[in-house]
Symmetry: C2
Subunit: 341 residues, 2 copies
Amino acid sequence: MNETFRPTLNDVARAAGVSTATVSRCLNEPDRVVPATRERVMRAVKDLGYTPDFGGRALASRRTKTVGAVIPTMENAIFARGLQAFQETLSEAGVTLLVAGSGYDSEREAEQVRALVGRGADGLLLIGLARPQATYDYLRQRGTPYVLAWNLGDTSDHFIGFDNLRAAAEIASKVIELGHRDIAMIAGVTSMNDRAADRVEGVRSAMRRAISEVKSFDVIEAPYTFEDGATAFDRLVRRTPRPTAVICGNDVLAVGAISRAKALGLGVPGDISITGFDDIDIASFVEPALTTVHVPHRRMGSAAAQVLLRLIANEPVEPRVEIGVEIVMRGSLGPPPGTTP
Amino acid sequence: MNETFRPTLNDVARAAGVSTATVSRCLNEPDRVVPATRERVMRAVKDLGYTPDFGGRALASRRTKTVGAVIPTMENAIFARGLQAFQETLSEAGVTLLVAGSGYDSEREAEQVRALVGRGADGLLLIGLARPQATYDYLRQRGTPYVLAWNLGDTSDHFIGFDNLRAAAEIASKVIELGHRDIAMIAGVTSMNDRAADRVEGVRSAMRRAISEVKSFDVIEAPYTFEDGATAFDRLVRRTPRPTAVICGNDVLAVGAISRAKALGLGVPGDISITGFDDIDIASFVEPALTTVHVPHRRMGSAAAQVLLRLIANEPVEPRVEIGVEIVMRGSLGPPPGTTP
């Protein structure tokens, strides 16, 4: 890079008529700067094509050997498992992981991203892709490498994930192929959750493809607990026509649904079939064991760490790592009642 | 405090014959200082009664509004739930939580404690009490407030926890009272885990108290997965005499054991009783539902946050907050086969 043509922090400060400290604050803690000043500074940053001087960060000695992750919730078996593998891979490289939970709140996620970058995180893991553009802008301005996991997008970001939509469409197609005509879905909450939204869209697309066969299709959303799955199941079975198959957006909802079905005296899958998504540990320990989409969470977490470490080291990386998922047929999905398979 | 009598960083440096930077490094990043120098400096610190000047930290403006937690593993529903509540309470106070996982390795825990304190954590949450004295010494030298959760100890630290030993003794006594005479325990791994060790000791103490009644008692340890619980159960039921009750050190092991019992054609509790500990979500969704020790994890996490926030603010706190636990009788524990309850 030709240093002569590279604008400095001083140039930005002069152009915006503020101190360098203010420019710095706009870049690092924009919330602490009044909007008018921030806008003036950010315009100067853009006009001059200024990028903060993170050249020094490329020197190993300047790295903090710390990586951050912001996950939607700490209280979720799915992230826990992938994150554990992410951490183990980082740990082998001598890198410490610090984790923050956003509570599925994109504003809080943005705060935590700034907190982690502000504490010197060399790179970040974020889940999925639905978040305000400002968060992406902040990371690019800071020059902080990041990877997005648990889904795949079509932006220029680095993804380590799988096609939630296609996998959900596949399991829904299996349900239709077995002869189910009245089908319902208990989805995760889709707001600011691209994974949950993609799964709903995948199931809907399978229903649309089989529009001449499927008689009824219903979707309700439920938060992520066994109890929520059970309650949602209660609502669905009271509908007319009663669904013969309930496709769940994740295994936790499915386990709750199975438990409630049995409590209501319904045989699974004799009276009603239930499917999950994720293949968390408990999926093979319930009765009947859950037909679900197996997601290799540990492999995904480990791959995310590898890509992030390479990004931090300025080494070439694949822009997109697709993690293969597959449907695992277990006991909870069968043909609808009254049919001969 | 009379500042005149307070030794400074300079005094320590002079006494140890090193630079103030070296003293600082000994206090903050002891691993980066050669042992001989470190010992000399730490002796001077001790001789002079030096404590780092964290007076400035008491000013709100100097605080980072970040708290750290080091938990044994990210892959564990029990910590996840308590931690989520811990975070929510911090979040209400505008404090960000950063979490690190130690993999049940006390050396790694020590590194992560230093990483978090080094990144400016205002205070720390640690799990249990079994860790090298050096970690406690480091925290005291740094003047970083910390709380210990999930257990109670008798040191001068701040505990927010429950009596694992007494609770385990109580559930074991229930098993004996119901008439079981051949009893086994599947314990969590007790090495560097005071909670798991206390639960074993509690069960053993109940057995000792009923020594004239109990005919056989066996303990095996298993890691924290459903599959490990199932495998351990396999080993236990092949023993002679076959136990009529299996007390598990946690619910995950117990759910694995129930699943394997049913797969082997054993009725629970008709042929064999199984108990858990923790009352995680799945405990009431398995069949039969699990008799277990209910631990209010969310309450504990929230209380830990409240105590830590007060410690950081230099407000008075209770040295020990005992969280009440209770035995929840569900379907998995009954009298031994061949008895009339």
